[in-house]
């Protein structure tokens, strides 16, 4: 049992908006659709909801073809980017709109309103009009408006994009909780890779109406199939490299930024490659720590674990900038004769290891976190931002 899209295409006024989109989301799971503005993400949701009708291909849910059904018959909830609350109705009237349209008995309307309002903690807001609610409160009402209809599929179009960081954090947790509790199948559109990672059982990266890569978050983030995906999933280090030697089963020695690195994620035939390393996969060598075969300190448990196994040591870099990030982390820019690397570290590490601008450092990266993509020799150098 799953939500299945088979070769769904959509053209509006001769412009191809969606091209042969196919995916399968098991019931009760979340597929995050990640892509730039104008990539066709919202249109894809509208096609699934039946709000745009002239697409080709099939939309199947639980074995039933939804393609020919009206939006009213699809049992799909849609949370819009701008919340789309009816401004002339109170929060309660907004929430009950769907039930009233379906002529649900008044007792059922009251029961569901009470239940969902309590669940989403909006009991005290029911008599207010949307203009009297904050962005986060409006989003809760919009979510409640869908949930009272007990949809089998919930579509969310960048639901948190207009909210401040604190509200975003609270709401993303709430949505995850609700999704798990009701086992609703969810398509969640965003351009935020952190949201995608947190919400998604699977992530589908789209660009210009086409699917570029689909897979579990860890695969999308660790092994992007193209420079676009790498860039979009915040792989901040995308460096031009050259394979020196192919070893067994996807392993290779790659020359990059003046260092020779072992990669165990290098299924590339060409000699010229893009080497992708995420900033959180580096760790600083702690010279003050007790001696060990390879001494590493990492804020990332995965990186820390792998550092004990097959680490690459990169030397000769100096810290050129330390940039504060959200949370208790910093982004450290390292430079070595024009080559540049970006590395995440916690504030605590910066203090403990005395990392200052100008310090010369050695860093570690596990071989499995050195990911190669094919590169044409004339590809322009992609300097990390």
């Amino acid at each position: 049992m799953a939500l299945i899209l088979e070769n769904v295409s959509l053209a509006i006024e001769r412009n191809l908006i969606l091209e042969q989109i196919s995916f399968e989301v098991p019931i009760g799971q979340v597929l995050v659709i990640l892509g730039n503005s104008g990539a066709g993400k919202s249109k894809l949701l509208e096609v699934v909801a039946g709000l745009i009708g002239n697409q080709s291909g099939k939309i199947i849910f639980g074995g039933e073809d939804l393609s020919q059904l009206t939006p009213q018959a699809r049992k799909i909830g849609f949370v819009f980017q701008d919340y789309a609350l009816f401004p002339h109705m109170t929060a309660a009237e907004n929430i009950l709109f769907g039930l009233k349209s379906r002529q649900a008995p008044t007792t059922e309307q009251k029961r569901w309103l009470k239940l969902v309002a309590a669940e989403l903690k909006i009991d005290h807001l029911l008599s207010r009009f949307p203009a009297e609610l904050s962005g986060g409160q409006q989003q809760r009402v919009a979510l409640a408006r869908c949930m009272v209809l007990r949809p089998e599929i919930l579509l969310l179009d960048e639901p948190l994009s207009a909210l401040d960081a604190a509200s975003r954090e609270r709401l993303v947790m709430l949505m995850k909780k609700i999704q798990k509790k009701y086992r609703v199948t969810m398509l969640y559109v965003t351009h935020d890779h952190n949201e995608a990672r947190f919400m998604g059982d699977q992530i589908m990266v789209v660009d210009q109406g086409r699917v570029i890569q689909t897979g579990p978050p860890e695969e999308i983030f660790a092994r992007p199939v193209s420079r676009f995906v790498a860039h979009f999933t915040a792989t901040r280090n995308i460096l031009p490299g050259r394979i020196q030697e192919h070893l067994e089963a996807g392993q290779a020695l790659v020359e990059v930024a003046g260092s020779l690195l072992l990669s165990t994620s290098c299924q590339v035939a060409s000699q010229d490659v893009w080497v992708c390393i995420r900033p959180e996969h580096f760790s600083f060598v702690d010279e003050t720590a007790p001696a060990s075969p390879i001494s590493s300190i990492s804020d990332d448990p995965v990186a820390a674990e792998s550092a004990q196994t097959t680490d690459n040591i990169i030397s000769g870099y100096r810290i050129s900038q330390i940039l504060p990030q959200s949370g208790a982390t910093v982004l450290i820019e390292l430079m070595n004769r024009g080559a540049r690397l970006l590395v995440f570290a916690s504030n605590r590490r910066v203090v403990e290891q005395n990392l200052n601008v100008g310090s010369q450092v050695e860093i570690l990266v596990a071989a499995e976190h050195v990911h190669c993509l094919p590169r044409q020799p004339d590809d322009i150098y992609c300097r990390p931002e």
Binding site: G77, A84, F97, S101, C146
Partner: protein, 257 residues
Amino acid sequence: MKVSRFSALVTVIVLVAGLFFGSPFVALLKSFTVADGFSALLNYQVLAVVGTSLLTALAATGLAAVVGTVLGYYFTFHKQTGSRWLKTFFSLPLVLPPSAAGYMLLLAFGRYGLIGAPLYHTFSVQIMFTLTALVLAQFFVVMPLMMQAASSAFQQVPGSLVKASHSLGADEYTTFIKVLLPLSRPVLVAGVITAFARALGEFGATMMVAGRLKTIPIMIYVKAMGGDAGVADGLSLLLVLLSFMILLLVNFIGEKR
């Protein structure tokens, strides 16, 4: 304080325009005498004309409100190939000379007309030169105004609200009644008021189909040409005051939005 050439030019144009547009009103006030005006207006014949005008304008406005709103909805949400041509066609009476509109109505609904002839011969129904003809002529001229007001009102409703309504299970009719109409109400009401004012003042098309019947504008024309300044002054002033109040009301609604 130094006044720029541009500011001076603007001031001159405003003054000249004020003189030009103000002079007819001043002339009317000068010509109007309270005693003559009231005695002319309080004549049974004149009061009947005022009644006819109000009645036909109300009927035409009601008809235009319904049809114009539906057409505005259609051209906003059911765009198809040729919609633009069709909308332009329905808007034609806005720019068509009213006398041409009246003449065309005669050709269509006259006793020997395209629709008028079968109506007359089958049901012995005559439309021309009756109150119905006045209503049809006024409706013909004011409906496009209402259609345009409705179109622009519906376009101002965010598309996501309509999509939200459909996704929540509401059909097209429920969405129209529960979402579109309430959110468009101020613009629609302003449209209805403007249409009523236009219908009340309609002259050219009405004149062509009125026969012996008279509305206020026709009465003003007849009396002015016949030299009966008292009635012409009184009715003109009545129309000026009504139009002024209607415009004030439309502006008030606009500001309230």
